[in-house]
């Protein structure tokens, strides 16, 4: 897993993104932060190979992302869009199985490795009791967890998640973030868009702060989330300080 890498060379997309450079390797959680409309989702789509950048290049494991076949790409990069479908009658289990599409056998079956990956992913997000429930009959948070399970089941060394904890209660927010951290410790590269700045600071190894489609800052969370950045990028007055219990960054917003 030591070859896991994601490199962006001067990536631009229409008038949404400009001059994005980064070089991430496996073993870390990278948080994309920034206000609404800063380009986080578009950047994730480009990283996933779902959108072609209008300029620049994206390398996944040393290969150009738009020159590898969709199936091979899916084996390298798992991508979870922001919207998990809520109008489908597929069950949680069927949905998670879709994560194994690139691993299906010639006749479309799931081999034992795939079965095990699906079971493990469903168990990981605590959806075993709901595995036969329909996606349109469960809550938004449960759907989100199903989406994360689909992504985990895919078994790709790079995982891209667009606001994966947006609809979750605090228990599952922490649970999912901790799990992503564990994956990173095992060599995975996790890139996620995240709005919750304190969680971003606590659970991400690196942050990339986007402002109007450009990189405002990139690096360790405590360096990226400066009081000046909060004011210039998010237009909020805030003080930052180290949490007295854990030492990670806290933000105190002044009204």
């Amino acid at each position: 897993m030591d070859r896991t890498s994601l490199v962006l060379e001067d990536v631009a997309f229409a008038d949404i993104l400009e001059g994005i450079r980064a070089n991430w390797s496996g073993g870390q959680v990278v948080g994309l932060v920034g206000p609404n409309g800063a380009g986080k989702s578009t950047l994730l789509r480009i990283l996933a190979g779902v959108r072609r950048p209008t300029r620049g290049r994206v390398w996944v494991q040393g290969q150009l992302v738009d020159q590898i076949s969709p199936k091979l790409r899916a084996r390298l990069v798992a991508y979870l869009p922001q919207q998990i479908p809520d109008d489908t009658a597929f069950t949680v289990e069927q949905y998670v199985e879709m994560g194994r599409f690139a691993h299906r056998t010639l006749w479309g079956g799931l081999d034992t490795a795939s079965r095990a990956a699906v079971d493990e992913a469903i168990e990981r997000v605590n959806l075993l009791p709901l595995r036969r429930a329909r996606l349109d009959r469960i809550s938004g948070g449960e759907r989100q967890r199903a989406g994360i399970a689909r992504c985990l089941a895919q078994g790709s060394p790079i995982i891209l998640l667009d606001e994966p904890i947006a609809n979750l209660d605090v228990h599952y927010q922490l649970d999912i973030l901790l799990h992503l951290q564990t994956l990173a410790e095992q060599g995975w590269l996790v890139v996620l868009a995240i709005h919750h700045l304190e969680f971003a600071a606590q659970y991400c190894d690196r942050l990339l702060l986007l402002h109007a489609g450009r990189i405002y800052a990139e690096g360790r969370p405590s360096d990226v989330l400066s009081e000046q950045a909060l004011q210039e990028v998010f237009r909020v007055e805030a003080r930052t300080y180290a949490d007295p219990y854990g030492g990670h960054l806290r933000v105190s917003y002044s009204t």
Binding site: R45, A48, G49, V50, S69, P70, K71, L72, R73, A74, R75, A78, Y79, L80, P81, Q83, P85, D87, T88, A89, F90, T91, Q94, Y95, M98, G99, R100, F101, A102, R104, G108, R134, D136, R150, C151, Q154
Partner: protein, 336 residues
């Protein structure tokens, strides 16, 4: 509604198929007892020409084969079109593909191409079905999502346009050509031959195999293109493969029996309620269900005004049109 166990659904479909086949073979102006069916067919295939053997072997059996295959072809095509368009109202006849196929066929007759060999008319039907399906897809799909309204409206527009051109060609054609066209357009199962059954079988086997290879990709695609791309599906390629195959299937079916409406709408929709949306299971079940619906519709069409015979499309439309309207009313609240 609770989902049924797949075993039950397939068992019921199998039983219905057997019963439908037995009745289709047994009933008619000459009633042949069910226990006589196999011996009669046996005699026909061993060269005996008594009345019952000929009625079974040369008339009813090929008719049964063509009816079942056309039903299977239309229903499976309906199932995959519904998945591609992410829309439960998609059906070859509703979205204008069937009328497109008719137009192509009539054109080849008008231009004298049908004289060349027996494949030019089916190929014409296939090509124009293909054109219509792609144009409608282009018009009705915005950012990967096909709106039900633009799908139905562009389908109506194209159906009407194609039918008008067919009428125009008919009214301008010389009498002999016109008869040939009408014979082709009316289609129906009357006079189905073994040759027709065999070429249908060839087309449908290939088409259904293609559908089955795309079933898992269609599952993911029905959740949206971003989800699909995220797990390794190539949405455009999947859609192109399925739409070309669908045009081929509709072309083959329309060539055999003329336009038969609503089979592709009713069958997959009902089965999706019982079996869930997974396409592989749904395609196999739709093939069986489509055959069942066609066999029973044909039975009604042949028996209701005995000895006269109705076109089977009338019966499927009588079943399908109210169902279609019911769906349209329910549509807003339902999950696909």
């Amino acid at each position: 509604m609770r989902r049924a166990r797949p075993g039950w659904v397939f068992g019921l479909l199998g039983a219905a198929l057997l019963i439908g086949a037995a009745l289709e073979l047994s009933l008619g102006p000459v009633v042949i007892p069910v226990r006589q069916l196999i011996p009669d067919a046996w005699r026909y295939f061993h060269g005996l020409q008594d009345t019952n053997a000929v009625v079974i072997g040369a008339i009813r059996l090929p008719r049964l084969v063509v009816a079942a295959l056309v039903g299977a072809g239309l229903a499976t095509t309906g199932a995959v079109l519904q998945a591609v368009f992410r829309n439960p109202m998609a059906d070859p006849s509703v979205i204008g593909v069937s009328s497109g196929a008719s137009l192509g066929a009539v054109l080849t007759i008008q231009l004298g191409l049908s004289q060349l060999n027996r494949w030019t008319t089916p190929v014409g039907a296939f090509v124009s079905a293909l054109v219509v399906v792609f144009v409608i897809y282009r018009i009705a799909t915005v950012q990967g999502r096909t709106s039900i309204y633009s799908l139905l409206l562009s389908g109506v527009a194209f159906s009407t346009l194609c039918s008008s051109i067919v009428t125009l060609i008919l009214s301008l054609a010389p009498l002999e050509t016109m008869q040939q066209m009408l014979f082709w357009l009316m289609g129906g199962l009357d006079g189905s031959s073994w040759q027709e059954g065999l070429s249908l079988f060839a087309f449908l086997t290939v088409g259904m195999a293609v559908y089955l290879t795309q079933a898992h990709a269609l599952d993911v695609l029905s959740l949206g293109e971003e989800q699909a791309e995220g797990v390794g599906v190539a949405p455009q390629r999947t859609k192109q493969i399925v739409l070309v195959t669908a045009a081929l299937m509709v072309g083959a079916c329309v060539s055999a029996t003329g336009v038969i409406g609503f089979v592709g709408l009713v069958v997959p929709h009902l089965l999706r309620i019982w079996l869930g949306p997974a396409n592989r299971r749904l395609i196999v079940a739709s093939a069986m269900g489509g055959a069942v619906l066609m066999l029973f519709s044909d039975l009604v069409a042949r028996m209701i005004l005995l000895p006269a015979e109705l076109n089977v499309g009338i019966i499927t439309s009588c079943i399908g049109a109210p169902f279609f309207l019911f769906l349209l009313r329910r549509q807003e609240s339902s999950s696909f």
